[in-house]
């Protein structure tokens, strides 16, 4: 069976009545190191610069056929086409929408700047393609809701590009997911780097000819081109990302969210400690942000490099009554999280699924919003709205530059 006209994943989807195992040639039949064609996934990499080629490997799909590389920079496309993952069948694209049109591509690997993630995830879901999306999942909160909804509606597999949750303590997950913990003084602290954007960038220069700057900007507000705002440096400007708080923060909070069973909720209070005001354009210095959940659990993300150190003590670790312990013991243990590879194969939800990724990055976006408005916030995780602060809510759903929209 080839994948050129009838991809493996669609074959599985269309053959629900047939035992899945019968459709797959076992690896051992072919010998060590051989990958059976029926296990070969076809994919496209969108965003080839920086982390892109690393993301391709991080998907954990063995040796997927790279049918397309896509980037708004010609030099990045050339780099992708020369990579060890590429082959003569790999084609280069500048517009991701043309990649979505290809029926022979199963998986989209998204490693673009974060202000593009949501729109490309949604386009992939609408095209019926499975998604591996680099962290942070989104640029603002409403995007994450739209992605999670699109993934659910179109029944595609989504995996965020962070894997710490796969090593989380499932016993703790079981305890906090049981509903038996009413109040907890647990405090989890996580450190991220402190890197800031430049506030004194001189006037920009014309964009280089190899870069389609209008497409690079996409949904972000128009600002004159400057080389220190693009190609990785974008991380440190609010229009495109939220600094290392969302960049590395997504790695830190995602295992916490799974372990403490927060994949369907969020913090209820967010308290910042950072420089004020923050610059309107560039990410600035900050010390810590405390995120408090309804059960009392606190997650503190901190830099350790600025301001007054966080010094609040942990509270009491919860203990169960013998009766509750019996109830907990009677509950089934949580199933191991499903890898992206197995999720594609079995159509089960991947461990780092879209709703979980949205909840993880939402907490980080809230931390950044609190730093930017310089005040404590209250969050309603069910309504996904900041409570009693009309201005802060304006950061939750940010208008996009036309024609790009959720």
């Amino acid at each position: 069976m080839t994948t050129s006209h009838f991809t493996r994943r669609r074959f599985l989807g269309a053959s629900a009545a047939v035992a899945v195992g019968a459709a797959i040639i076992p690896r051992h039949v072919l010998g060590a190191g051989q990958q059976p064609p029926s296990e070969t996934v076809t994919g496209a990499l969108i965003g080839v610069g920086g982390r892109g080629l690393g993301s391709w490997g991080a998907m954990g799909l063995g040796n997927p056929r790279m049918l397309a590389v896509c980037d708004i920079d010609d030099e990045h496309i050339a780099k992708g086409l020369k990579s060890p993952h590429a082959s003569p069948e790999t084609k280069g694209y500048k517009d991701f929408r043309h990649v979505m049109d290809r029926k022979d591509i199963d998986v989209i690997c998204i490693a673009t700047p974060p202000h593009w993630h949501a729109l490309q995830c949604i386009a992939a879901a609408q095209a019926g393609k499975d998604i591996f999306c680099e962290k942070p999942m989104t640029k603002f909160i409403a995007e994450g809701r739209a992605v999670a909804d699109a993934v659910a509606k179109h029944k595609v597999i989504f995996q965020i590009g962070t894997f710490g949750r796969f090593k989380s303590d499932r016993a703790v997950h079981k305890l906090y997911g049981s509903g038996l913990v009413k109040e907890s003084g647990v405090l989890v602290r996580a450190t991220v780097p402190l890197r800031v954007g430049r506030t004194d960038l001189e006037e920009g220069t014309p964009a280089p000819p190899e870069l389609d700057y209008d497409m690079w900007l996409g949904p972000a507000p128009f600002k004159p081109y400057h080389p220190l705002r693009v190609h990785y440096n974008n991380r440190f400007y609010w229009d495109y990302e939220g600094g290392d708080l969302t960049n590395f923060g997504h790695h830190r909070i995602d295992p916490f969210n799974y372990q403490y069973a927060k994949d369907d909720t969020g913090p209820v209070e967010i308290e910042p400690h950072g420089q004020f005001p923050q610059h309107p354009d560039a990410v600035g210095p900050w010390g810590w942000v405390e995120l408090k959940y309804a059960d009392g659990v606190r997650f503190v993300v901190e830099t350790g490099k600025w301001g007054t150190p966080y010094d609040r003590p942990a509270g009491k670790t919860p203990s169960l009554t013998p009766e509750d312990q019996e109830k907990l013991d009677a509950m089934p243990d949580p199933e191991p999280l499903v890898s992206f590879r197995d999720a594609i194969r079995t159509r089960q939800q991947a461990g780092g699924h879209a709703e979980a990724a949205h909840r993880s990055v939402t907490a980080l976006h809230l931390a950044n919003i609190a730093l930017r408005v310089g005040r404590k916030l209250r969050w309603d995780p069910a309504a996904e709205q900041i409570v009693g602060d009309e201005q802060a809510n304006r950061f939750v759903n940010i208008p996009m530059r036309a024609p790009w929209r959720l």
């Binding site: 001189e202 920009g204 004020f276």
Partner: protein, 170 residues
């Protein structure tokens, strides 16, 4: 052009602050100066996107925007938003006006809709003005966007069509 008063210049030197309480005192001090101080700060931001000399004034204008936008400070918010909106009609560069629109996207209210609506005919400023109107929302913003939509074409029409849809769905 307004010159920065020595008092305002002294405040600028202390921005940004390491403590919220310190910032609060400074912004209260700036707000007692009323619209004239805000105008001084806007002028000092400078005409270009990356004016190096405008870094501190930019902190100040943005700081006022978010400080006055806090819950329960409606009077201060009206003062700041009204003063920023007035500058949209003054002789400033498009880049400076785009920056002001971004601030009104955070603190603007129905009172600033007419000033923002006046920019919807500009090729450069239609986008930031429309986005500020989307953030403000409500009937006044919708009416302004629809009014400009009818006569727009090209990129402006695209921007306004999208903005009308955004506000209509709120």
């Amino acid at each position: 052009m307004s010159e920065l008063s020595p008092e305002v210049a002294a405040v600028l030197e202390t921005l940004p602050c390491d403590e919220y309480a310190t910032a609060e005192k400074l912004f209260e001090q700036l707000l007692t100066g009323g619209p004239d101080v805000i105008r001084q700060l806007v002028v000092a931001v400078g005409p270009k996107f990356g004016d190096a000399g405008g870094v501190k004034p930019k902190y100040a204008v943005h700081g006022l925007t978010v400080y006055a936008g806090r819950p329960g400070a409606d009077g201060q918010r009206r003062l700041v938003a009204g003063a920023l909106a007035k500058e949209l009609g003054a002789e400033h560069s498009d880049e400076l006006k785009a920056f002001l629109c971004r601030q009104l996207q955070l603190c603007g209210t129905a009172g600033e809709v007419p000033a923002l609506a006046g920019l919807l005919k500009s090729d450069r400023l239609c986008e930031p003005a429309a986005q500020a109107l989307q953030a403000i929302g409500g009937n006044a913003a919708l009416k302004a966007l629809r009014g400009a939509q009818e006569k727009a074409d090209g990129d402006r029409k695209r921007t306004l069509d999208q903005a009308v849809e955004f506000v209509s769905n709120q």
